[in-house]
C-alpha cells in the first residue's frame, strides 16, 4: 500500500466517523466540533485530488466562517443537551431505517456502474492551482462570479432584515 492509499483510507474513515458523531451527539456544540473535523478530512481529500485551492477555500469558508457562525448561534441561544425535547423512539428508528434503505439502494444501483475501471489518480497534475482556476473564473465564468456577489449582498441584507427586532 502506497502512502496515498494509506492517506485515502485514513481520511475516509475519519470523514465517516466524524459524520456519524455529528448526528449522534446530544449536545449541539459537540456536533459542530465533529463537523469541523469532518470538513478538515474532506479538505484533505481535496488536496489528495489536487484541488488545492478548493481545499483552502473549504478550510477558510466552511471550517472557519460557517462553523464559527453555527457555534456563535448555538452559544447565543444557550442550548444544551436537554434543550432537545423527548422524541418518539419509533420515529427515530423509522428515520434510521429510511436512511439505511437509501444507502442500500444507492450502493446496489451504483455497484455495477460502468465507471468500475476508471481511476482518479492521486497526487498528480496541477489543474487545481489558483492560477488555472482564476483564469477560468475570470474569463469564462465572470458573469456567474458577479451574479454570486449580488446574491451575497442580497443574503446579507436579508439576514439583517430578518434578524432586526420588529
Amino acid at each position: 500500500m502506497s502512502i496515498t492509499q494509506i492517506l485515502f483510507w485514513f481520511l475516509s474513515i475519519l470523514t465517516v466517523f466524524g459524520a456519524l458523531m455529528v448526528i449522534t451527539r446530544k449536545n449541539p456544540v459537540y456536533s459542530v466540533l465533529w463537523l469541523i473535523i469532518t470538513f478538515m478530512a474532506i479538505s484533505g481529500h481535496y488536496i489528495l485530488l489536487n484541488a488545492q485551492f478548493l481545499a483552502i477555500v473549504n478550510v477558510i469558508v466552511y471550517a472557519g466562517a460557517i462553523m464559527v457562525l453555527f457555534l456563535f448561534v448555538i452559544m447565543l441561544m444557550n442550548l444544551d443537551a436537554d434543550a432537545e425535547p423527548q422524541k418518539n423512539k419509533w420515529l427515530q428508528l423509522a428515520g434510521v431505517v429510511a436512511g439505511g434503505c437509501l444507502l442500500l439502494i444507492l450502493v446496489a444501483s451504483l455497484k455495477d456502474a460502468e465507471t468500475k475501471s476508471k481511476m482518479a489518480e492521486l497526487g498528480t497534475g496541477s489543474i487545481g492551482l489558483i492560477q488555472n482556476l482564476g483564469q477560468a473564473l475570470f474569463k469564462t465564468y465572470v458573469l456567474p462570479f458577479e451574479v454570486s456577489s449580488v446574491l451575497f449582498l442580497s443574503a446579507m441584507v436579508g439576514a439583517v432584515v430578518i434578524g432586526k427586532k420588529n
Binding site: I23, P85, V107, N132
Partner: protein
C-alpha cells in the same frame, strides 16, 4: 484510486446526512446535516473532474484545462451554501426569539 471508492464515500456521507435530517429535531443540527450532504456532492464533483482531467490529458496532452469546470462548480456551490447559511441561521434565531425553542415541530403552525 478507483473512482468507485469516491462514489461509495460520497454515498455514505450523503446517507448519513439524510439520516440526520430524518432523526433529529434540533433545527441547527438539521442545518448541519444539509451541509454534510452538500459536501458529499462537492467531493464527488471534484473526484469526477479529476477523473475526466486524466482522460482528457491522454488525448489532448498535459496542457488540457478539462477539470477546471467541476472545481469552479464546487466553488459556486460553496458560495450559495454560505449565503444559505447566513439567511437560514437568521431565520432560526428569529424562530428562537419567538418560541424559545429550536424544535422544528413548532413549525407545524405554518400550516394554519
Amino acid at each position: 484510486m478507483p473512482i468507485n471508492n469516491y462514489i461509495f464515500l460520497g454515498i455514505i456521507l450523503f446517507c448519513i446526512g439524510v439520516t440526520g435530517v430524518l432523526t433529529r429535531r434540533n433545527a441547527i443540527i438539521i442545518f448541519m446535516c444539509i451541509e454534510l450532504m452538500l459536501n458529499a456532492v462537492n467531493l464527488l464533483l471534484v473526484a469526477f473532474s479529476k477523473m475526466h482531467h486524466q482522460v482528457a490529458a491522454l488525448h489532448q496532452g498535459a496542457a488540457s484545462t478539462v477539470g477546471t469546470e467541476g472545481q469552479i462548480f464546487v466553488f459556486f456551490i460553496m458560495v450559495v451554501a454560505a449565503a444559505e447559511v447566513s439567511v437560514g441561521l437568521a431565520i432560526i434565531v428569529m424562530m428562537y426569539r419567538n418560541t424559545h425553542s429550536v424544535d422544528v415541530n413548532f413549525l407545524n403552525r405554518l400550516k394554519h
